[in-house]
Amino acid sequence: MSAPGNIRNWLDQRFGWDELMAFLRHKTVPIHRFSYFYFLGGMTLFLFGIQVVTGILLLMYYRPVPDGAFESVQYIMTRVPFGWLIRSIHSWGANVMILTAIAHMFSVFFLKSYRKPRELTWLSGMILLFLVLGFGFSGYLLPWNMLSLFATKVGTNMTAQVPLIGHWILVFLRGGEDVTGATLTRFFGIHVAVLPGLATLLIGLHLLLVQRFGMSVPPSVEDETKAHPEKARELRFFPNFFLRELMAWYVALAVLGCLAAFKPWELGQKADLFASAPAGIRPEWYFMFMFQTLRFLPANVGPFAGDFIGVLVFGVAAVVWTCLPFFDNDRRGRSTRWFTGVGIFALAYFVGMTVYAYLGK
């Protein structure tokens, strides 16, 4: 027997390799006019993998201390062979991953894929999205530059608005009353240990649930295939769908390469804890809709602080959105159309506020 045959035989005897291959051969993906949205989940997973690999490489040089963080990133960008590429791909990759994760969430929402029996798939996906945003927030501070320092001050300050435990959360995140070197060390720990551990567990659960329940088909497509069963089409997951997904990954990788080569992620100026806030402090783009909303709010709304009302509304909205499958389980009734309207509003609000924040004065 040839060497590959021997290896396969060895694996089959211990792990049931042929059984796994048979499962993959039989696994199919529905083909319809919305099938392209199925790529988004896989794309997000691929980008997460990129983040893990580039993150590990960055860890070899990065130093999470106030006197060394900025310098170590500068060293990576200027002295380490291909350090600029790794760091830029990590930074750009984080943003593209968050973009695909948000797009994945909205596609799942509008295709109603969260319906019974996939409630937990949605729930695990939403928690993953929050974790991804947490990755972005904690990673933003790590280069220890002026912009990230003050954006973190603003961002962590918002948590103080949470009723009862707000101040405790603020102190927990900052490692004290203010953003200092303790915050940097804490964010580093959260970014490279806590969040990756949680994310890995949840990704495993999410993928398991996706395998358990299969790909969801939108209600409209379901109705069509019921009426015309001969029109129902499927594609083998392996290798047909997987190869197509692989093509999409290659394109994503090429896009990241172009961004890194033409627009390497900026280093900025080293953070100075005693400096006054620079002009143009702003969070990353995915938090801009919240940032802009809080800017619109007056200092006081009735007896409450404007920021408190803003944080409260966003908090309640996030909880309701996360628990959506438990509210919207009516497959084709009026309530589901109402939820679709809410989804369109949420998407328009997110995009509109983000665009306004960048273009408006």
Binding site: T78, W84, N240, A254, G257, C258, A261
Partner: protein, 429 residues
């Protein structure tokens, strides 16, 4: 009683002072504790209603340093501010004093302000030498000779509205001093008897000192009183100009003293720094100030063929050389930065070259080429390194572009390969 001429040209009158001023002067005589006990002030009841020059602006008085410290009308003017009867309130028997004549104002104010023990009760660090300084000033000397047109205390500080010098609204706050002095010194008509220039304020308004003080808000930048003194105001003599400038420009003065110009200027009776830089209208110095080209101040004394002329030309050339070299490095580093290569450390290093240029520009006060060369050479060493860093960064940018093109080409080939594989797999199915 001469009550006319009050506030002419924005100044206090030449002759006797109106009762309004007495209110201020008398404020010094009462202790804060005695004032705090008073609840009634009939002086202000009347004088806040009267027309100028007897009027006292209640709001301005309330904000004045005297009112803030509890110094009231009777402190300076005597009398009884609790009496509703004007003849009692302003009775000489109650200590009411006539307001001082203009020439008496300095001694009137000095009763308190030259009394160290008394002033200590308000502010232990407050100076009490204003009066003695004033006596040495041109203003004080002329006043003593009977010239009542010169400035006395109230002309600069005000009367009832006196604010502390660190209050930005005060007439003697650093940013306001030039305007305060200019009220007399920029008034050609008023200054006619003295036959001195009146363009100082106009010149100062265009100067680098005024720009630093007013535009940049740097309160350490000089205004009139910084060079001339305030209470002891007098023009610095030729011999002391360098000493005046050196209170801020320490290194320049030291280098000037160590160079050949010091003795030469002294022998020619030239006023040090002012000879090259001028005084009130002093501009930001440029490299064009030194050298043998048109506009260089060296040409005032040196001409082609003399050693000074040659040295000036060489120093100018060396300064320009480093300046150009810095600009060249900055340009290439900016270009590399825009191409996406991190050049922060090299840009930081370039600051050292800029520092060396600054040092060289200071070293020119020795007017010795060797001194200037030392800093210029140090700067050029840095710019050589930073320029090379810029070249490397541009090469790196080019390398990245090429690498990207190659990797994109490979990616495209892989994509085509996958597409062909898909076609092959699906044709078999």
């Amino acid at each position: 009683m001469n009550l006319g001429g009050f506030c002419r040209n924005g100044r206090a009158p030449r002759g006797l002072f109106p009762p309004a001023f007495l209110l201020c002067g008398a404020l010094f005589l009462a202790s804060p504790s005695s004032l705090s006990a008073q609840t009634k002030n009939t002086c202000l009841d009347c004088h806040s209603q009267l027309d100028a020059p007897f009027r006292v602006d209640l709001a301005a008085f309330a904000q004045s340093i005297h009112a803030q410290k509890g110094v009231s009308c009777v402190t300076c003017h005597g009398g009884d501010s609790t009496s509703d009867d004007m003849s009692v309130a302003m009775s000489p028997a109650k200590g009411f004093k006539d307001f001082p004549a203009r020439e008496q104002v300095p001694t009137f104010c000095a009763k308190c302000h030259a009394d160290a023990a008394y002033m200590r009760s308000f502010n232990p660090s407050l100076r009490t030498d204003q009066y003695s300084q004033y006596l040495t000033s041109i203003h004080g000397q002329r006043l003593a000779k009977g010239d009542h047109q010169v400035a006395v205390c109230v002309d600069c500080h005000g009367v009832h509205d006196i604010l502390p010098p660190n209050d930005s609204r005060a007439r003697v706050y650093p940013t306001n001093v030039a305007e305060t002095c200019g009220r007399c010194h920029a008034n050609a008509e008023y200054m006619k008897p003295y036959n001195i220039p009146t363009n100082q304020l106009a010149l100062y308004s265009t100067s680098v000192h005024r720009a630093a003080l007013v535009d940049r808000g740097d309160l350490s930048a000089p205004t009139c009183s910084t060079c001339h003194g305030s209470h002891g105001a007098a023009p610095p003599g030729v011999a002391s100009v360098v000493n005046v400038c050196s209170t801020c420009h320490v290194f320049q003065a030291q280098l000037f003293d160590s160079g050949p110009h010091k003795d030469v200027f002294k022998s020619l009776n030239l006023p040090g720094c002012v000879t090259c830089h001028s005084n009130h209208g002093i501009q930001h110095p440029t490299d064009a100030l030194i050298g043998a080209d048109k506009g260089a101040v060296c040409l005032q004394c040196h001409s082609a063929g003399d050693p000074g002329y040659e040295t000036a030309a060489k120093i100018h050339a060396r300064l320009v050389q480093l300046d150009t070299s810095i600009a060249r490095s900055r340009e290439i580093l900016d270009r590399a930065g825009q191409a996406g290569v991190e050049v922060g450390p090299a840009q930081l290093d370039l600051n050292q070259a800029q520092d060396a240029l600054t040092k060289a520009r200071v070293a020119i006060h020795t007017v010795e080429l060797e001194s200037v060369d030392e800093d210029i050479n140090a700067g050029l060493k840095v710019t050589d390194v930073t320029y090379k860093a810029g070249e490397s960064a541009l090469a790196e940018a080019s390398y990245r572009r090429k690498g990207l093109v190659i990797s994109l080409a490979i990616s495209l080939l892989v994509l085509v390969g996958i597409a062909l594989m898909i076609r092959k797999v699906e044709s078999k199915q």
